[in-house]
Symmetry: C2
Subunit: 341 residues, 2 copies
Amino acid sequence: MEDNSLDNRKKKVLQAIVEEYVNTAEPVSSTALTEHEELNYSSATIRNEMADLEKAGFLEKTHTSSGRIPSEKGYRYYVDELLKDDNISLEEIKYISEKLETKVNEIEELTKITTTTISEITHYTTVAIGPEKEAQLIEEMKFVLLGPRMLMAIILTNNGMIKETIIKFEEDITDKQVETIGYMFNQKLRGQPLAVIDVPLEEYLINEMKYSVKVIKPIIEQIKKAIDQDRQIYLEGANKSFDLPEFNSLEVAKNFVNVIDEKDLVADMLNTGFAEDINVYIGEENEKQELKDFSIVTFKHRVGDKDLGTIGIIGPKRMNYSKVISVMKYINNKLNNKNIE
Amino acid sequence: MEDNSLDNRKKKVLQAIVEEYVNTAEPVSSTALTEHEELNYSSATIRNEMADLEKAGFLEKTHTSSGRIPSEKGYRYYVDELLKDDNISLEEIKYISEKLETKVNEIEELTKITTTTISEITHYTTVAIGPEKEAQLIEEMKFVLLGPRMLMAIILTNNGMIKETIIKFEEDITDKQVETIGYMFNQKLRGQPLAVIDVPLEEYLINEMKYSVKVIKPIIEQIKKAIDQDRQIYLEGANKSFDLPEFNSLEVAKNFVNVIDEKDLVADMLNTGFAEDINVYIGEENEKQELKDFSIVTFKHRVGDKDLGTIGIIGPKRMNYSKVISVMKYINNKLNNKNIE
DNA sequence: GATTAGCAATCGAAACAAAAGAGTGCTAAA
DNA sequence: TTTAGCACTCTTTTGTTTCGATTGCTAATC
């Protein structure tokens, strides 16, 4: 294993290069760095440091005589060791607070608001997805007849979400039947994760409880379907990415549209391992090949102990990690203390 | 008013140019046209015809010595007079039929399926929006208590749509109250358009019917909000547009992403005047300036007499109008005869 | 030993020029 | 009315030159 420790001046140089490059999107030259107040050396000295940093893999050149840009390893070191997470202004704090205090009737609205706010503050494309069905426990189920052959099933979960779906039958259903179904489902499912609504349950109800296939099968099938496809994805500020110089490359732009157009890919992207509440994936660190030109910052989104899913920012590798992570940390904190009844 | 009648040969030339340009995206030269079987003339003759058509405003040149491309007037003439609407293969018919016969529990699913299918067959970006609230009549309303201060309102409309929303109160609500509310709302609103749920109704219920503000106000407000924002927009195949040569221009690409990212704009776009079931807007014919580089084909989407909203294709002016309109007509016909219970 | 000044070398970007190719418009002939 | 023929126009491509930014290295300096 190579030695990745850097002395103080090298750290400063690396940090300055990342921050400068994030701002300008242009390779950073040794002369430009001498203007940094903490780097009171001649350009030649900086050049030597840069050469060392390149040899160690933290920097790259676009061609022999160009300035340097951070490598993925460079970004990674920056994110892990150098980044400041207080890169958020008073105005931004105020704006975010106001947004998050909006009264919401449905908990999903809060996700929407948060997603939009993050996109507005960071100027990056932001996506969100609801919690996984394994993580949501059924608190109560209600069944409402909407017509002789049409039933609405409503599921209230422990994280405050409400899912409803319509089930159509091929024969009439009576009020009495609905009542029994309600009683039975609640008995069986209260406290269970949503994922439990699946074929084994269907078989149990039909075989053990002797319930009519014609009634049970459509209910289970439709609820399962609704739960699966109900993991709706919000997408905010897709156009914002197009103002970035990276998107002058048609290939990158096309790649980006392909990614955000592919809902499954976005879902996967938001669901990759969660060591921390906030996770950063830089370029090739992303599991999906399509994302190798981008960086993703994901963020477990909860209010108190209620898991509301994951919000993710997708931007260029030259992302303003400091701003993004500062904003996420602030929101994270704010939401944890939020009072939702 | 200028004379826009064209003799037969000119029509053939114009049609050939449109179709050739739609295929190749390259200006069409006189020599290329001589290879069309119906145009057995020398390139010089064709050149003369092209010069006439240009003078009359149907064609344009990109520069002095280039081939011709259709002008917007040219496309318009083509769409109105020359286009064949049987540009659909047996395989496509089969594919569409199968898709449209999928059993759906919720009527919105049918819109999704149709939208996806159109995008798959035409290879253009396709959007859909539900019917306007003026066009939907309330058939029945149900209210279900989900908690002491949480009520679900369900509205069934005459076009088979089901809208539900959650209302939260600041004080407890009793079963008795819910029952009265249900009775009252149904009495008052059955047969009325969704648009009726608004402030005047709120005032009437509070002043005339002496109902508690604390109960009525949140209900009306939340239902209104839900109806307004529930006009969800489906978007399919945004990435498909990026394969078109038009999108090699960054400006066009950016413009496109801006358009589809702006939900209100898409909604407006789908709601502009409806002379016919299928409407074509070419370039500058679009009311919105942002759409001047694109053509939109919209299509009133109904099953029997049930209005399901509007589906629209957005593509380059060099759109394959013939294919798009053939597909829409076929689907239109197919849906009209569809049996949904 | 660390730092710096100085300078040749390298490469990209921009400007310019020349050549090739595609297509038209027009004239005069069929 | 149609067509052959040809000069003319404009784009695209390719090559060349110049300019400027930046580096790496060497030798001098602190």
